[in-house]
């Protein structure tokens, strides 16, 4: 058991490391491709060569990021096959189909048009070049969409049926999987957050030029475009984030309870604005969960249900079987103890199916398959020893959520300030402190962006597939030592990759600061 838990922990750590590193590159590609597209559109409209040079500079940084980030996601697929073989088999073509579409459609779209973007200046018409730029940006988003479809299915499994003979989930409705409301919301929330990250990057690099008193006009123009993109991005990200909270309240209420450190819910539930989690708090004791709490009255009820007086269940409520239904009404649902019992019943039926299969007993197989189907919704709960195992790590989820939300608030204020300064007092942008703020916001936006993913992924623990497969059942029968070894190898490679990216990028930015980007002299 200890070896298994260790394998699970190292496999999770490795997956988290890979995903976090992959996510350093992806949102920058999403955001920069949009900003480059806007700048080139202005060039096409105005015919002014300075916009072409601006486009080319940011396109170069987009290219560096794209090259450094390309294929980092492939490692995740290696990990599925080696560390998560039970999971990989169990998900069947549901996971494979979106990833295959991503690979074939989006990747080829990107790689074809990215060549035109970089090599096509003066070789294809301006209109064709601009089309290629926008198609590259669309390709980046399309890639993200199919990956997010796969991720959303893990959070909210729909459109499939489990086949005990193949031991796989078979896709019954591609539309349900591809257009799952969770996938659609996740896509917009994620892509829009990419706009914000790209915009902060452009503002930050421009701030560096201003600190160096180089390419001042270029930096200010870039800041204007980026600040508009960033403002639009952050407003829409907050809006889709609100949609996401409503969805989480309905389909993953345990995640929402963990995000709030909420053990016992109530009607008109307040939202924790500031506070520290009480480290001594146990699920069943009466100690306060939050220390030094400052809360917004009825805030969580409004956030989760758009109804100030609605009931929001806490961790204990959910374990005891009290939740809200799709209309937002409080209902008695299946308690976690019963879920565990029903999950075990489904697993007993699977054992019976297996026995019947060995002896060729078709009637027995059919009966067992029916029994599995009846309780399959709770299949994964059968692996849990107690309801406590179904509670996500509250501290990490709680703090990651707050970093994301507070960071989002800061970024909104940041872009409003940058736009006001850009239009009202452009000279202030050259102020040392303002430029420093712009530069320092670069790491902030990455932390905020990663915190969003930590909230989403830690909040759904212990599940790889919600309710169906916990991490301990999804993992392969391999030694923890082998996973540990590759974990550290990845650390070395990823650090090298980041050093290379940051090195190449800073060298190009430094080189550009020694010439006039707008005239090329």
């Amino acid at each position: 058991m200890d070896e298994l838990l260790s394998t699970v922990d190292w496999s999770r750590a490795q997956f988290a490391l890979t995903a976090i590193v992959h996510w350093l590159f992806v949102p920058l590609s999403i955001g920069l491709s949009l900003i480059v597209g806007i700048m080139e559109t202005i060039y096409l409209k105005t015919g002014n060569e300075r916009w072409k040079r601006m486009t080319k500079f940011w396109m170069l940084l987009f290219g560096i990021n794209f090259a450094c980030g390309v294929a980092t996601g492939i490692i995740l697929e290696f990990e599925f096959g080696t560390n998560w073989s039970n999971y990989s088999w169990f998900v069947g073509d549901i996971f494979g189909a979106p990833l295959a579409i991503e690979g074939i459609l989006a990747f080829f779209l990107e790689s074809t048009f990215i060549a035109v973007m970089f090599f096509g200046w003066n070789r294809v018409s301006r209109g064709f070049h601009l089309t290629a730029t926008w198609l590259t940006a669309a390709g980046v988003c399309l890639s993200a969409y199919w990956i997010l479809v796969a991720n959303a299915w893990m959070q909210y499994p729909v459109g499939m049926e489990f086949d005990p003979a193949q031991m796989r989930n078979i896709m019954k409705s591609f539309t349900e999987v591809a257009l799952s409301p969770v996938a659609v919301n996740k896509f917009f929330h994620t892509v829009l957050s990419g706009w914000v990250l790209g915009a902060v990057f452009v503002v930050g690099v421009s701030s560096w030029f201003l600190l160096k008193k180089s390419n001042v006009a270029f930096a200010k123009d870039s800041m204007k475009i980026a600040s508009w993109v960033g403002l639009a991005g952050i407003v829409l990200t907050i809006w889709t984030g609100d949609g996401s909270a409503v969805q989480v309240a309905k389909v993953q209420p345990m995640k929402l309870a963990a995000m709030e450190g909420l053990y016992d819910g109530s009607r008109g539930q307040s939202l924790v604005a500031f506070g520290l989690l009480n480290p001594d708090k146990q699920r069943t004791d009466s100690k306060p969960a939050i220390l030094g709490e400052i809360s917004i009255p009825k805030g969580l009820s409004i956030l989760a249900n758009h109804d100030a007086d609605s009931f929001v269940p806490g961790i204990n409520d959910l374990i005891n079987g009290i939740a809200i239904d799709e209309k937002g009404d409080t209902v008695n649902t299946v308690s976690y103890a019963e879920r565990i019992a029903r999950g075990r019943k489904a697993q007993q039926a699977l054992r019976e199916y297996d026995l019947a299969m060995q002896t060729g007993d078709k009637t027995g197989m059919a009966a067992a398959a029916e029994a599995i189907k009846a309780d399959f919704k709770y299949f994964g709960y059968g692996y849990l020893e107690s309801p406590d195992e179904a509670v996500p790590p509250v501290a990490l989820t709680f703090y990651a959520f707050r970093i994301m939300v507070m960071g989002g608030g800061y970024l909104l204020a940041f872009f409003v300030m940058m736009l006001l300064l850009s239009y009202r007092k452009p000279g202030t942008l050259e102020n040392r402190w303002v430029a420093f703020l712009g530069l320092l916001t670069i790491p902030v936006v990455w932390i905020v962006s990663e915190a969003g993913w930590v909230t989403a992924e830690m909040g759904r623990q212990p599940w790889t597939i919600e309710g169906l497969l916990p991490t301990r059942a999804a993992v392969s029968d391999i030694s923890a030592g082998s996973v540990q070894l590759t974990f550290w190898m990845f650390v070395v490679v990823f650090v090298g990759l980041l050093v290379a990216e940051v090195g190449i990028m800073t060298r190009e930015i430094a080189k550009a600061s020694k010439k006039d980007i707008l005239t090329g002299e």
Partner: protein, 122 residues
């Protein structure tokens, strides 16, 4: 560069001679493109008038790759990265456990069924 070379070679020869705009097949053009590949990707060997979409696309790639500056470093980085991923990680450290240990899908399904049917003994 090597990959591009073979890619061009496959494109130019696997599909047979290219069609000229007037519909006639021109082996000469194919040979010229082949020369482009063999002459160190020098697009200048293409003569005026050979302005088909294919030729223009080809010369865009050829000239683009030739005039790369930062791009060379990036391609080197991509190739090193892919080599580490596929020739080291994939080959030695990340076997597909089920495909390596079992020959058929039925056996793989059985292995997963046995693992998952053991319930909370996992």
């Amino acid at each position: 560069m090597l990959i591009l070379y073979y890619w061009i070679k496959v494109l130019t020869f696997a599909d047979g001679p290219l069609q000229r705009p007037d519909g006639r097949k021109s082996k000469t053009k194919v040979l010229r493109i082949y020369r482009v590949c063999n002459s160190g990707l020098d697009a200048s060997v293409m003569k005026n008038g050979e302005n088909s979409f294919f030729n223009r696309a080809l010369s865009m790639y050829v000239d683009g790759f030739k005039s790369m500056t930062v791009g060379r470093k990036l391609w080197a980085l991509i190739l090193i990265k892919l080599a580490i991923m596929f020739l080291v990680f994939r080959l030695f450290f990340f076997p597909d456990i089920l495909h390596e240990n079992y020959d058929t899908d039925a056996q793989r399904a059985q292995a997963v069924r046995s693992a998952l049917a053991s319930g909370n003994e996992i």
